[in-house]
């Protein structure tokens, strides 16, 4: 009987060549492995690689890359990595592995941005912005640029400068469905101006058994955004920033009033039943399908709604104000920005491309193709009416990234989850205020 093992032993193991074959196999395997783990492949100087997460903008980016190559001969690779969470992780991993592309965007809070800068991954664009008497710098909306700026004496310890170029701007506001307004017997050209009027509409919505406000409050940051809008309106910017610095407690009556607003909204029936676990994509679908009277969303929604329901008849409004003490603020500024890799061999080419990308013609094309607000002031022309309503509110815009100080993540989480607890009737505004303050004190104590 033939024993396969014997055949192997006689024909293979005893052969002198077997060791060479083994050696070659090992070298090949290791070679493949090493190549697979090696850093970014060496590319010619005339190729710029850009990483981004903006699925809706990829076709427009590809078209612009084609135009740029035709004009300059420089090839631009726009590499899309979605969803945004996966993209954010990829960028962090790439900075550890020193494989960041020539141009990339950062998703996260200002303190993450600061860490990237301090670690030397991001090029200071200030000298380029200041060239030709600040020609590039002056082409942007100041609100868009300030999000990417670290001013003198910033609390993050970053060298003052501008570290990214905005490619679009956004504002986050309320939207209302004009057809559903008519159905409720309301004037579709007169959205509610005050919080009282808003709550009154909530009662009508409840009586008509339709649904009120939708937003991605299950994702937390949208809830944080509206709460901060009202905090600015009730107590002003200085007091909000004093709270972040730890000088004013969250148990202050003004903050309790902010928390109470959410209780009042829930009680009036103006909130969608189930808003606390809603993601923004669901909220967008509901509003686009005319299942909700109000939405709280950013200007990017214009493109989203257009794709979902081109006939949607809606208007834009500021969140109805609670107080006359301070102006109503909304979050706004740079929607998306691109940074240049400070360690890139192609950084000069990358800066040139960013200058071209943010020039008025390219910005106008991006605005037209993607329905996003351009970051270049000169490109705000012939944009849709709804988009111009978003743009006109830019003067009310603020953003945590321009405050120069960030609240602790643990406090933000307790704050947002606390509001969810108020909406589901689990906790009172006073209880939430106390809990948030307790966490604030704990975090402050940790840093002392």
């Amino acid at each position: 009987m033939v024993n396969p093992e014997q055949i192997l032993n006689s024909n293979f193991q005893n052969s002198k060549f077997s060791y060479w074959i083994l050696f070659v196999i090992c070298v090949l395997v290791m070679g493949i492995f090493v190549i697979g783990c090696s850093t970014q492949k060496t590319e010619s100087k005339a190729t710029i690689t850009i990483w981004h997460w903006m699925t809706d903008r990829q076709p427009a980016f590809l078209e612009l890359a084609r135009r740029y190559e035709a004009k300059t001969g420089v090839k631009v690779n726009f590499e899309l990595y979605a969803p945004s969470d996966a993209y954010a992780q990829k960028v962090r991993a790439a900075c550890q592995g020193n494989t960041l592309p020539d141009i990339f965007g950062i998703l996260g809070e200002k303190r993450d941005f600061a860490s990237f800068v301090k670690a030397g991954y991001i090029l200071d664009l200030t000298p380029y912005m200041e060239e030709d008497s600040g020609l590039w710098k002056n082409s942007f909306f100041s609100e868009a640029l300030s999000v990417n700026e670290f001013p003198e004496g910033n609390s993050y310890g970053v060298k003052p400068g501008i570290y990214a170029a905005p490619i679009d701007v956004m504002t986050i506001q309320m939207l209302y469905n004009k057809d559903l307004f008519r159905q409720l017997g309301l004037d579709p050209n007169r959205p509610p101006q005050t919080f009282g009027e808003f709550l009154e509409i909530g009662k009508k919505i409840k009586a008509a058994e339709i649904q009120g406000l939708v937003s991605g409050w299950g994702e937390m940051w949208m809830i944080d955004c509206l709460a901060n809008n009202y905090a600015f309106n009730l107590m002003g910017k200085d007091k909000v920033l004093a709270t972040i610095r730890g000088e004013v407690p969250y148990t202050d009556p003004d903050w309790i009033r902010v928390f109470r607003l959410f209780k009042e909204m829930q009680e009036s029936g103006v909130l969608y039943n189930g808003i606390v676990t809603m993601i923004n994509k669901t909220a967008e679908q509901l509003f686009a399908n005319e299942k909700a009277v109000f939405a709280f969303n950013g200007s990017w929604c214009v493109n989203v709604y257009k794709g979902m329901n081109p006939n949607l008849n809606y208007g834009v409004m500021l969140p109805p104000k609670v107080s006359e003490n301070f102006p109503m603020s909304i979050w706004g500024g740079a929607g998306s920005s691109f940074m240049v890799n400070a360690k890139s061999k192609n950084k000069e080419e990358a800066v040139k491309f960013l200058k071209w990308l943010t020039d008025k013609d390219q910005q106008a094309y991006l605005a037209e193709a993607t329905n996003n607000l351009p970051a270049n002031k000169e490109s705000v022309r012939e944009i849709p009416e709804v988009l111009s309503q978003f743009a006109s509110a830019m003067r009310f815009a603020t953003h945590p990234n321009v405050w120069g100080i960030s609240e602790f993540s643990a406090v933000i989480e307790a704050f947002d989850k606390g509001i969810q607890s108020i909406i589901i009737g689990e906790k009172t505004p006073e209880q939430v205020a106390q809990e948030v303050q307790k966490i604030k004190e704990r975090e402050l104590a940790k840093r002392k």
């Binding site: 090992c26 783990c37 992780q89 996260g108 299950g218 606390v276 676990t277 989850k417 689990e426």
Partner: protein, 292 residues
């Protein structure tokens, strides 16, 4: 000759050992190392905090609440999900018509994407336009209508039931394979001795299925305690903290707060808990087998 043969063997396994070391062993060691540091995942510098992260975990009420909630989902999976899997496997092991069709149907949920399942169930369970509430009203139970995923009283149980629906197919397959290994002669001998169906089930099927049940139990515990995709898709861990589970907390530490060191410490703590639970279950089942 022996040395040559040994060297040859080592050469063969070397690539696998290197790949395993780089992608498994070294990251595993790094996780342990990072657990003793405060690091944001970006800066090249890390700050040594000793046992600080672990001490903070001990005081982190939300973390322990997430463990308890994962335990609750696991309990439902161990009981409801596995009982369902066993009963269906037992039914399909018998001579019934279209049993292959049922086998196929029962195995569809596990192979579906968790995100898709989560979104579909979110739509079914929606408080305003959901199918479930619509059916409840149609069947004359309007008092049962609620917002299943946003109501703190029902959110966790609802998530646990959907998780069980999604996962019972694995248990079903393993139980069915186990049932098919039981020699048919045992049942025939029992019938000759006058045993009825219940006695055959109790005296033959159940004892011989204990090792399989142990395996399914361990897999259920390990799989369910680490569940998170379905939960993200359905509730995102809300309302408030009502459907938070440990993996979501680890993700929140890493992504939301940029606290990689703390997230690693949470991962280690969670791993230790899983090992302890698995060990207890193993000892318990060993004792049960000895008793049998």
């Amino acid at each position: 000759m022996k040395v040559k043969s040994t060297l040859e063997n080592y050469l063969f396994v070397l690539p696998a050992v290197i790949i395993f070391t780089i992608f498994y062993i070294i990251p595993f060691i790094w996780v342990f190392q990072l657990a003793f540091y405060d690091w944001d995942g970006i800066m090249p510098t890390k700050f040594f905090v000793g046992l600080g992260n672990f001490i903070e975990i001990l005081q982190d009420k939300i973390w322990w609440r997430s463990i308890w909630q994962a335990g609750y989902i696991t309990l439902i999976a161990l009981t409801f999900q596995n009982a369902l899997a066993f009963l269906l496997a037992w039914a399909c092991d018998r001579q019934i018509r279209m049993k292959n069709f049922y086998r196929l149907i029962f195995f569809i949920p596990p192979v579906l994407s968790e995100v898709v399942v989560g979104l579909v169930w979110q739509w079914i369970l929606d408080g305003n336009y959901g199918l479930l509430n619509h059916w409840l009203v149609s069947l004359g139970f309007p008092h049962l209508v609620r917002n299943w995923l946003s109501d703190p009283k029902t959110a966790l149980t609802t998530v646990a039931i959907v998780h069980s629906w999604k996962g019972f197919g694995w248990g079903f397959l393993i139980f069915l394979a186990g049932l098919q290994t039981i020699p048919r002669e045992l049942y025939e001998a029992a019938r000759v001795d006058g045993a009825n169906a219940w006695e055959s089930f109790r005296r033959i099927t159940l004892p011989l299925m204990i090792p399989v049940a142990v395996l399914v139990g361990i897999l259920t515990i390990l799989g369910t305690m680490q569940a998170f995709v379905l939960i993200i898709a359905m509730t995102g861990g809300g309302p408030a903290y009502h459907t938070q589970v440990p993996v979501l907390r680890i993700l929140a530490s890493m992504r939301g707060s940029s606290r990689f060191g703390y997230a690693c410490a949470q991962g280690i703590t969670f791993g230790i808990i899983l090992v302890i639970v698995s060990f207890i279950q193993y000892r318990f089942s060993k004792r049960a087998r000895q008793y049998q």
